[in-house]
């Protein structure tokens, strides 16, 4: 394993790849790039699955992808590999290609990572950093790497402590960097279903009856539970309703119930189905767990600030802190 990586050499290799690719056929090749996507993963993260996820994202969000694989240990090691990913849209002759760079960095070489990444970032386009390593976020070098990104994507569900993760993401948000949490992204379809309940004017007019938000989370869904409660609390506050939130550990995945007076609306997951209950009526919809591809597809589609998430994050951090101090 080498110990140095020259960004100039990588850029030269990339340029060479385009020249070679252009010679392959009469229709030439189209370079597509709308962002730099930096993916940081541990060495034991499933490389094949991650590669497939990135490949699936490219047609919709073409990017220069820099995949950084972290190797734990004190030995200083840094290496690189450059390649392209190409596809032909259905019915078209021209190939579309995206650039991919793979870097391997040991813990001891992490300090060198920002200086390698910086020249590899495509000018004038957003930089999205998807950090799949909870371990890295606790290391001092992480702040410098994260500082390169216009948007940082984390997954608090993979952190040891959900409440600590929420607090850390909230403080990162307060520092001004755009941050996303895949634990929140997983809730989009849930939230959408709850929102649809209140598209019905009759139910909307009964919102003022709600006095309690009850969220129960199962293992692996704690941060999602805090987010769901915080989001519902904020939405109700916008409607002039002050409701009390209760977030408790239970079995299964996650469920939420808004109740008060004679009104009750709730969502709960049963296997691959989402059950929506309003008073005594319930409706069931097919909703498999979203894959990493679907989650990242949603996040890459949002490159501006997400005010609803930011507000939810801040409320969730407050709820989690006050719950811990009770």
């Amino acid at each position: 394993m080498s110990t140095t990586v020259a960004p100039d050499k990588i850029l030269k290799e990339l340029a060479g790849l385009w020249v070679e690719e252009g010679k392959q056929g009469p229709s030439g090749v189209l370079r597509a790039c709308t962002m730099t996507l930096v993916v940081i993963a541990e060495e034991n993260d499933d490389a094949a699955a991650l590669g497939e996820t990135v490949a699936a994202l490219m047609p919709e969000h073409p990017a220069r992808t820099i995949l950084v694989r972290l190797r734990a240990g004190h030995e200083r090691a840094l290496s690189e590999r450059v390649y392209q990913q190409c596809w032909k849209p259905f019915g078209q002759r021209q190939q579309i290609c995206c650039e991919q760079i793979e870097l391997t960095a040991s813990d001891a070489a992490l300090g060198d990572l920002p200086s390698v990444l910086l020249p590899l970032i495509v000018a004038d386009l957003p930089v999205i950093l998807w950090c799949r390593s909870a371990r890295l976020t606790e290391m001092p070098e992480f702040l410098e790497v994260a500082g390169l990104a216009t948007k940082l994507v984390l997954d608090s569900a993979s952190f040891g402590s959900a409440t600590a993760a929420i607090r850390r993401i909230a403080s990162s948000q307060q520092r001004g960097s755009g941050t996303a949490d895949l634990a929140w992204t997983r809730l989009s379809r849930w939230r959408e279903m709850l929102a649809r309940v209140f598209e019905n004017r009759v139910y909307l007019s009964r919102l003022h009856e709600v006095s309690t938000i009850q969220v129960t989370w199962g293992d692996g869904f704690e941060s999602a539970g805090w987010y769901l409660a915080a989001w519902a609390q904020n939405a109700l506050a916008d409607a002039g309703v002050n409701a009390k939130s209760s977030v408790v550990h239970g079995s299964g995945t996650i469920c939420i119930e808004l109740s008060g007076g004679s009104f009750r609306a709730g969502l709960r997951r049963e296997d691959d189905r989402l059950v929506v209950t309003v008073d005594e009526l319930s409706n069931c919809t097919h909703l498999p767990q979203p894959t990493d591809y679907l989650l990242m597809r949603e996040e890459l589609g949002i490159q501006r600030r997400d005010p609803i998430f930011e507000r939810t994050l801040s409320t969730a951090a407050r709820l989690a802190v006050s719950s811990a101090s009770e």
Partner: protein, 506 residues
Amino acid sequence: MPNDNPFQDPLRFERQAPECAVVIFGANGDLTKRKLIPALYRLAYDRRLAAGFAVIGTSRTPMSDDQFREKMREAVEKFSEDTKLDEEVWGAFARGLFYIAGDVKDPAMYKALGEKLAQVEKERHTGGNVLFYLSTQPSQYATISAGIGAAGIGKGSGWRRLVVEKPFGHDMASARELSDQLHQVFDESEVYRIDHYLGKETVQNILAFRFGNGIFEPLWNRRYVDHVQITGAESIGVEGRGAYYQEVGALDDMIQNHLLQVMATVAMEPSASFRATSVRDERSKLLRSIRPWKPEEILQNTVPGQYGPARIGGEDVPAFRQEPGVDPATQRDTYAALTLFCDNWRWAGVPFYIRTGKRLAKRVTEIAIQFKSAPLHLFNQDGGEGGLNLLILRIQPEEGISLKFLSKRPGSGMTLRPVSMDFNYGTSFGERSPSAYETLLLDAIIGDPTLYTRQDMVEASWAVVEPIQNVWRSVKFDFPNYASGSWGPAAADEMLARRGHEWRRP
């Protein structure tokens, strides 16, 4: 209590349609099978429709609900270009399909429709909302609207909307008359005049391109733009619709609605917001600023054409006059080219050349904005194109935007050649674009008329087209005047040459 749903998150949630029943008149027709039902099915497939959704089809052909469902299933299988039929989704969608046979002139049909709507509202929870879609002969629009009104189903517990397909009249007087007849039952805000061109992603992208970017708008005026060419060309002939086309012609079929709307989108002023009223006000203002030609100016500034026979790719293709159902001596235009000017500060003196036709060299719809040349030519130029700067907004078949400019040719010496910088909509955004009908149907169900045509816009278009129509109908042209597979009559080239311009060959 606020009326808005506080749980909505427009950044992440898809636009959802409220519960409603869609009533399609002409449900056994081509448009229903080719466009409407495949578009509605795709919306169901994408979970964009509410659970409380139903379609009631009606036409004269006797059919049961099940037979209608079977026909519509075949239509989805045949005409859904990029959506495979999913049994589960289709099953749920088909359960909401109903059919009533009847004549649109028969009051009993509307009575039966009223009863069916009540039944569907109860069983399918459609919330009392009804979207009427007129996919029939235009001559039946007024009859149907009156029938709906007389049966009392034009009003109800939920909203009512009426979608009408073009043509909106065949001249100014008939457009006004139709409008007056519709307004006897529906308010103008409930009338949705569909122009499927405006539903195309790339036509909407013109607005994004112009008003979402800061760099183009300063150039978008008479100071920098030399002229604009709008082309809506088809390579096919009338394809069995000879009798219809003989009544309508290229000018009314394409320019009066689609291409003038495209021109309005290209040339309108920025609207204060993206709300329907603001955008439509600006489009309407632009259409009203188009200078109608005086009768004596028309033959200098417009060119009608009709295709003759030719051999294309080893196949003999007939002249328009040889098509089935077409009068062998017809004077109807299958090609139309116009020079138009906008009398406003932004565009004064800039020619807008618009052309459309059947059996032209290729199928292409695009807008080419030709910028003025550099004031001084310092370099040798390959191709002698005189400092050509051209912005091309491609609408079909390959949606995208190209900018042509000059670049130094590699090697010694300063010889320049034109190069093209291309943005391809399909490759930069790999996700599927919704069809125009998906977009427009969803808009109508949601109640967003931004991409629909308003009565004042229809009248402004007729004010431009009607004088041309009158002169063309009073003159006997020497038709056919262009060969199938060509780029149209020589007179159209001469029309541009008089102003020192020439048509692009897209």
